[in-house]
Symmetry: C2
Subunit: 569 residues, 2 copies
């Protein structure tokens, strides 16, 4: 049985889930030993530990030497050594691998990818440990985000790609009546052909979750992929590349269909991005390099997730405590280092109506700070939820934000401080910094302050909040918008705002679903319609332009059966 | 009954045709009075004649005055006066119309568009006459290309857009089990939202066929459209805009969903193209302005069909006369002014094997020239097939090409000459110019020589032809590749070339299907994968990125039914 036939039930279930968009996953998000195996966690961790300080087993063309740039936010030594390869050698190898990858067609590719994905799934604990160590995510979050949730997004990308590719029949008989004359008959073939080499540039915080969609979508649609991980989070990408190459090799396919471009040299990344052979780039990261890519890598189609200013609008609530707890958790989770973490929280200056009576702006600020402290000061919960700060630069950003308070541009609602971790004394940690702005200071609100920094912003009224949010999101982008209101008319206003700013809206979240979270097969991550991202995980637009259809046609006699010309590779 | 329900059978038939890709059309291509009505042709022509020298009835914001830039290649007076409008006024009106157009949703929009399309169909003879007069197409070709074939492509675009939009459910109930605890339940809504104002820039030669796909695709997916026709072919676009606005108004929708930007001022077109409100641009035309758009209108997604070097490779044939006749017709049709007309015909220098024995390069050249002359010199067929030269500039291009022969860079196989038309003594006509190149002169072969100019090029052997064609098409683009061979191995080589150069391949065309022709619902026009075009009529990639999905979600209690928040506009 082919890999495609073997995994067809999984594909079909994913397609059904996509058309339904209810909750579905084949990859349980709880690391239960009953599901993942009695010793899975220990084995996964041991698998990763065995790679630390060692050469990562990967042989690629053009190797110039080995590099080990990863530094753990937890303060533990890593030191895995990856091959750094000459960009042109990787590109040449990718192009050489392309025809074989195209020749096996959509079925062949989807089979290979689902086989690899299930092997990745079985190594979920290894991925979790690698992501925890490199990104600073807490262990539970690392398991979910790097394991099942990343796998969900990969499967989703494959399923959507399959959906797009399968709208085109492989063959057709074109039979055009000619009145009393015999009909014109042509035989036609339609082949799905990838656009060329795909470059997938990962980020430091979610090295699999933000890499798998582009990686699997590009592969499924017939493109060889070069994965360029962030230098601080190579290991998770390398593990995935290894599994994919293993399955490729087993199937007699060139492993160069998937390659790893580990490097710290900007000129290498730029050379890859701007090469004529590179037809698409997936990029998750900062706006500056995103704009550089848009300006300089114009030969490639860019799928970019950049910075944004995620927004919350508080108008009223009938569940004040639950609202605060929900928001506080969103601010604390992974120390605000999610691309979906709220940054700008707008509140009418007069305060809001709640089930606990009217709450003034200052009161709400104090209550939100208290709700955050309840999490950070909980000895079991705090360190696990916050994790560590991925980048040194976030410390400087926190200092900058505290300086705004000192300068009187903002009022300190909750100061940031290290949160000592019992197991990792060297961990780089900081609790959320919460600043109040007595009026909307757009120079502050327009910039993404990546990390645990948020603004509680007094605005004249709720309508001002909506209008300002719309303007800011349209110009600066946002992946998430949350609204709290008990007023149907204002709810309608929020819906209108979300449609105009093209941003996903979460209304009155008070249970254990957070605005940060987007569940594959149900939630689109990013609309692709505002500056925070030009693509969405995973709609048709994320996959449809990664391939073209190349057709051929020839006459046949009406009475003849088709002669199939040999399929070229 | 809603317009959508009324036209649902037509939509369903189009969707079925697309999944089958056999021959299908609801719009008969022969202008039979039985189909189109006894007096349809006279009425259609009269409708157009009544507009000549008159103000075109169209009221739009920001009108600065009236312009009448059209000059007929047939030498007859036109003089219809169109409003020239201030770009910002059109953009503002388009944006104001956007929410209402989005609010009626995919069903509402598809209903409006199919109603308009059927009205356009009933005016096929008017469109044919307007296209004939403005473009120089012969009357039969004008009927087919401007009438049913354009309507096919419009319907195809609407159907593919519907296909893409309908992969997303409007609503979902997300029901996540929580072990022994009650499940988490969320209600979700998914709305299709256009990306913003769409600009559709038409060309002079096919003012409806190359405009309708972008126009109807952008509209169907929720975008207001500004149609910017070529100044030489405004009337056909204006007729379509008028019908669309008529249906919009009848449905209580703002007619500014569709606007006409007739202008000769490059700065107006540039202002439209680069405005932040413009989210997509469809452009058919020359490479220079296409590259300008790519470089300067970077806020917009560009769907471009540019120039290319369409190619024929002659290796062998078992139907020599039929091959020559087929090729000759392709070269003559509309005087080579189709984006699909072959330009570079490669032949092994030693000649080719045929059913009439071996044919040397020189012999084949003479025979092809004779086959062209057979068409041009036929008093009934010649003028009808050739039509007139759309642009004055084509005369200069012919002079340039003749100079190459005088300079000895090429050998004249067949000279170009005026072809007097019995009905239009002032028509700008020229028969095809055929040049032989004794070796591939890449500076000639790399440039598109738009119009009736082709090269018969001697190459060392067929493999050289394939390699050279691949290289040229990958760098300069092509919409069509035709191959003639009786050798299965070389056929396989051609298939491989077509896949690598991402160009549609027509094999051994000898009956009355021509390489120039691409039938909607079956043939993709352009692969979108080489420099001749970055998009294809009409695959999913042509529509999928014209809209985004904006979702909203909110908690519901497991036992509660969903409370639908008001749908905003």
């Amino acid at each position: 049985m082919s890999l495609f036939d073997t995994h067809r039930p999984l594909l079909d279930a994913a397609l059904a889930a996509l058309s339904d968009r209810g909750h579905w996953t084949p990859f349980p998000e709880l690391p239960s030993p009953k599901v993942y195996g009695e010793h899975a966690q220990a084995e996964g961790q041991a698998q990763v530990e065995a790679l630390l300080g060692q050469d990562f087993p990967l042989t690629q063309p053009g190797e110039l030497g080995r590099i080990a740039p990863e530094r753990s936010p937890w303060g533990v030594p890593l030191g895995t050594r990856y091959p750094e390869c000459e960009p042109q050698a990787l590109l040449t190898a990718a192009q050489a691998a392309e025809p074989a990858w195209q020749a096996i067609g959509p079925r062949g590719r989807v089979g290979v990818l689902l086989e690899a994905l299930l092997r990745i799934h079985r190594q979920s604990h290894a991925f979790a440990h690698a992501v925890m160590l490199t990104t600073g995510q807490g262990p539970m979050m690392a398991f979910q985000a790097a394991g099942p949730h990343s796998q969900d997004r990969a499967l989703e990308a494959v399923a959507v790609a399959w959906q797009a590719m399968s709208t085109v029949p492989e063959a057709a008989r074109w039979h055009k009546p000619q009145g009393k004359n015999p009909p014109l008959v042509m035989e036609k073939r339609f082949e799905i052909v990838g656009r060329g080499v795909a470059l997938v540039i990962g980020c430091a915080t979610f090295p699999t979750w933000n890499t798998f969609p582009g990686l699997f979508a590009a592969l499924a649609t017939g493109n060889p992929v070069i994965v360029k991980p962030h230098p601080q989070a190579i290991l998770p990408a390398a593990l995935a590349v290894r599994v994919l190459r293993e399955v490729l090799a087993e199937q007699g396919l060139p492993p160069e269909v998937v390659q790893l471009a580990a490097t710290e040299r900007p000129e290498f990344t730029q050379a890859l991005a701007t090469d004529a052979a590179v037809a698409s780039i997936d990029f998750t990261g900062g706006r500056a390099f995103g704009q550089w890519l848009a300006a300089n890598a114009r030969q490639a189609r860019l799928y970019a997730e950049l910075s944004g200013v995620n927004t919350v609008i508080l108008e009223s609530t009938d569940a004040y405590r639950a609202m605060l707890d929900n928001l506080a958790f969103s601010l604390c989770l992974y120390s605000g280092q999610m691309c979906t973490t709220p940054q700008n929280l707008f509140v009418p200056v007069s305060g809001i109506a709640t089930d606990e009576g009217h709450k003034r702006f200052a009161e709400l600020g104090a209550d939100l700070a208290a709700a955050v402290r309840k999490i950070t000061q909980h000895p079991k919960v705090g360190p696990v939820v916050l994790g560590a700060l991925c980048a040194e630069a976030t410390l400087a950003r926190l200092d900058q934000a505290r300086a705004w308070a000192e300068e009187g541009r903002a009022r300190l609602l909750l100061d940031t401080e290290p949160l000592p971790h019992p197991d990792f004394p060297q961990a780089r940690t900081r609790t959320p910094l919460l600043l109040a702005l007595e009026a909307p200071d757009e120079t502050l609100l327009r910039q993404e302050c990546f990390g645990p920094i948020s603004f509680l912003v007094a605005v004249p009224d709720a309508e001002h909040a909506a209008a300002l949010a719309e303007r800011l999101i349209r110009s600066e982008g946002a992946l998430t918008l949350a609204g709290y209101t008990t007023d149907p008319a204002f709810e309608e206003r929020l819906v209108r705002l979300s449609l105009r700013a093209r941003v996903a809206l979460s209304l009155n979240l008070t249970h254990s679903v957070y605005v940060n979270q987007a569940a594959a097969f149900s939630d689109f991550h990013g609309s692709g319609g505002n500056p925070a991202a030009n693509a969405s995980y995973a709609g048709l637009a994320f996959v449809a332009d990664r391939f073209v259809v190349v057709q051929r046609r020839w006459h046949v006699q009406p009475e003849m059966s088709a002669t199939q010309p040999a399929a070229g590779a």
